[in-house]
């Protein structure tokens, strides 16, 4: 059983071989659901919500892109994406694990429950956007998201200058980013 997990935007892929790397095997399984999470998904009902949702969650109803939970018949992609989202959910504060036979369980706990929200996942992509962030830190602890956003903005300014030439655009130096 192997999972290939994309950890950062540089395209670097980390392989977990569960037969030899048993550390935190359950957590890795749940995190592998990232492949079924769409960071760019948009729901347009009740105004446009910012992006992010498990795959298969947003359906077009003829007018709007709406969040749809066909419980209890979740698709595999939806379930995988939700597992990943839960693991990295920003608002979560505590966790508990249990194990028996080949079954691993976790409780991820946070303030949503205490607030008695009627349905944890039924509050639009705004909550997903706010709580499920892309992985920005690469293996060198460099914030890839910030670097790319700043690079984009910088190059847009450079492109407006008189005498602009394509070769004047900057490229990211990951070694320098790590050093700084």
């Amino acid at each position: 059983m192997r999972y290939y997990i994309e950890l950062d935007k540089t395209g670097k892929t980390t392989q977990f071989d569960l037969l030899t790397d048993a550390t935190g095997v359950a957590a890795k399984y749940w995190y592998a659901g990232q492949k079924d999470y769409d960071f760019d998904a948009i729901a347009t009902a009740n105004g446009v919500n910012p992006g992010g949702a498990p795959k298969d969650t947003i359906k077009f109803d003829g007018t709007d892109a709406v969040i749809s939970f066909p419980a209890p018949d979740f698709s595999a992609k939806m379930a995988n994406g939700m597992q990943f989202a839960q693991l990295v959910w920003k608002a979560s504060t505590t966790v508990a694990f249990a194990v028996k036979n080949n079954w691993a369980f976790a409780w991820f706990c946070d303030s949503r429950i205490n607030a008695k929200t009627s349905s944890a996942w039924n509050f639009g992509t705004t909550s997903w956007f706010n709580n499920v962030k892309k992985a920005c830190l690469n293996s060198d602890n460099v914030d890839v998201c910030v670097n790319e956003a700043e690079l984009k903005a910088t190059n847009e300014y450079r492109a407006r200058r008189v005498g602009y030439e394509k070769e004047n655009l900057l490229e990211l130096d990951w070694t320098a980013a790590k050093a700084i």
């Binding site: 048993a22 095997v25 957590a27 698709s75 595999a76 694990f97 194990v99 429950i113």
Partner: protein
């Protein structure tokens, strides 16, 4: 001795109840019926109010009969009796015990009444069985619905006047495996109820009955940690005592019975450290016995050497029972193994070295612990001196603590991952570490901490349901594998709800304040993650 021999007069029948003469047998379909008696009225208005508040009457006769029958069984297993005062108990202590067990019985009666109203057996959560009036001790219940199948030929009106309940629980012996101290999967409920009946740490019980529904409430709870073989071996004694001993063979140069017992104790401790079971080697046992006898002659503890006959491939653990009043029973209580295992406090699981190598006593304790649980060791033999003062273990093929390197200790000494609450702390620690690494990568998610109280609650539910017949994975690839009762407990704290709400509000949306995630990771699951009790059940 049958009820018809007695006049119907107050609770005379109960007071005279003598389970020793009771030949009734559930499997043989014989049931001794005792005369119904009138439960005593509350002596004061205050007592009447308290009784009403508890919602259940104290069913004197039902309790009298079943406590007696429980204690008959416990006596046969040489286990301390329930609801019994200590020999040196003061009047105050005796009164307190009486009040506690009557309260237990009233709670059991109220529960039985509630179950009858509900029409089905519904268990309480562990949290609901905490006795807040007595130091928050954890209690447990055994539930049954009596019917024609459980008591063929017995009229329902006589349920409350018989020891049927106790006999049914004891008939669960067939679902308990004394060789492995585990409950057989063929009838888990029966095995657990049998274990609870005999559980040595449980000292108090109360019974309640309402129609066909019966409840036994025990304090403290047995079967905890659920499935921990060592605790079961400590608390569930086989008939005739804590272990059946093979008969001593004349001329055998070692104590056959003691070796059987000591080996079981050592292997249970090794199991806690995920080390394989040792096998008894009769030559090593003879050698260990010779050294134990020698220590008896010398009158002081010492280690043997090669010149004393100990083979190169064997290490040695020695124990001296310094309390002379305990020597006669030190072997029965596994004192030596307990003392050696307690040396884990002197071992550092992070550096894989003794914590205080410069402290000779601490170093010895650490070495005896690591020797006891050393994974690579395969054989052992035990000796015990005549008076029980000295106990010697030779552990061999190969001996432990060598080579004396961190790598060697890391490979051979595995931390006991199950804490007193049954939580696998290693599993929690390792997954927490990985979860937080992932959350760190997703820059704004702060690190989580483990909530051990919730981990205890979750593990309790997982132990209760995983492996049951209805705990199956659906054929499609959606990981919906939980039985409905599991969903209810996770989702609503034990309150049943409509089926349509189960998935959205219970399975996904946990009322315990948490969301549940689960994974079947069979292929990638290393065997050291397995809880000990389930090694053979997968």
């Amino acid at each position: 001795m049958y009820s018809s021999d007695y006049p119907v007069e107050g609770c005379y029948c109960c007071d005279e109840y003598d389970p020793v003469d009771d030949g009734a047998d559930v499997n043989g379909k014989r049931y001794d019926i005792y005369q119904a008696c009138v439960d005593p009225e509350p002596a004061t208005d205050e007592a009447a109010k308290a009784l009403a508040a508890d919602g259940g009457a104290y069913q004197y006769c039902f309790n009298k009969i079943n406590v007696a029958m429980h204690n008959k069984y416990r006596g046969e297993h040489k286990t301390a009796l329930l609801n019994t005062d200590k020999t040196d108990a003061t009047k105050t202590e005796k009164a307190a015990l009486k009040a506690r067990v009557e309260k237990l019985a009233r709670k059991a009666a109220a529960r039985a009444k509630a179950l009858e109203g509900l029409g089905e057996l519904k268990e309480l959560t562990a949290a609901e069985l905490v006795d807040t009036e007595n130091g928050n001790r954890q209690c447990a219940e055994s539930l049954r619905k009596l019917d024609g199948a459980s008591a063929p030929g017995l009229d329902e009106k006589n349920y409350a006047n018989s020891a049927l309940l106790s006999k049914i629980f004891y008939a669960g012996a067939g679902s308990y495996d004394f060789a492995t101290h585990s409950v057989k999967t063929t009838d888990t409920q029966a095995g657990l109820q049998f274990a609870q009946l005999l559980w040595a740490a449980s000292t108090e019980v109360g019974f309640g009955i309402s129609g066909k529904f019966v409840v036994a409430r025990y304090c403290v709870a047995g079967n905890t940690p659920l499935g921990n073989q060592y605790e079961y071996a400590k608390n569930v004694a086989d008939e005739g005592g804590w272990e059946k001993c093979p008969k001593q063979i004349p001329g055998l140069p070692f104590d056959n019975c003691f070796n059987t017992r000591a080996l079981t104790a050592a292997n249970l401790r090794r199991g806690q450290a995920l080390a394989g079971a040792l096998k008894l080697d009769t030559d090593y046992a003879a050698g260990a016995q010779t050294w134990a006898d020698e220590l008896e002659k010398r009158g002081s503890i010492a280690a043997s050497s090669k010149s004393d006959g100990r083979p190169d491939g064997c290490a040695e653990n020695v124990f001296e029972q310094t309390d002379s009043s305990k020597r006669a029973d030190s072997a029965i209580r596994d004192d030596a193994t307990d003392a050696w295992y307690a040396g884990n406090a002197d071992y550092d699981f992070t550096t894989y070295r003794p914590k205080s190598p410069d402290n000779q006593l601490s170093l010895q304790r650490s070495n005896m612990y690591t020797q006891l649980v050393w994974k690579a060791s395969t054989k052992a033999g035990f000796g015990i001196s005549k008076e029980g003062r000295f106990i010697v273990m030779w552990i061999c093929d190969t001996k432990g603590n060598e080579p004396d390197t961190a790598a060697s200790f890391q490979a051979n000494v595995i931390k006991n991952c199950i804490n007193a609450d049954g939580v696998n702390t290693c599993f929690n620690d390792l997954n927490l570490k990985v979860v937080n690494e992932f959350r760190k990568a997703h820059a704004e998610a702060p690190p989580l901490t483990v909530d051990l109280a919730k981990a205890k609650e979750l593990q309790f539910l997982v132990d209760k349901y995983v492996g049951k017949d209805d705990f199956v994975k659906k054929t499609n690839d959606v990981p919906d594998f939980r039985p409905k009762s599991f969903q209810w407990e996770i989702g609503t704290g034990g309150k049943a709800q409509g089926a349509s709400a189960v998935f959205s509000d219970a399975c996904t949306y946990g009322a315990a304040g948490c969301y549940t995630e689960a994974a079947d990771i069979s292929e990638g699951f290393p065997d050291w993650y397995y809880r000990l009790k389930t090694k053979d059940s997968t």
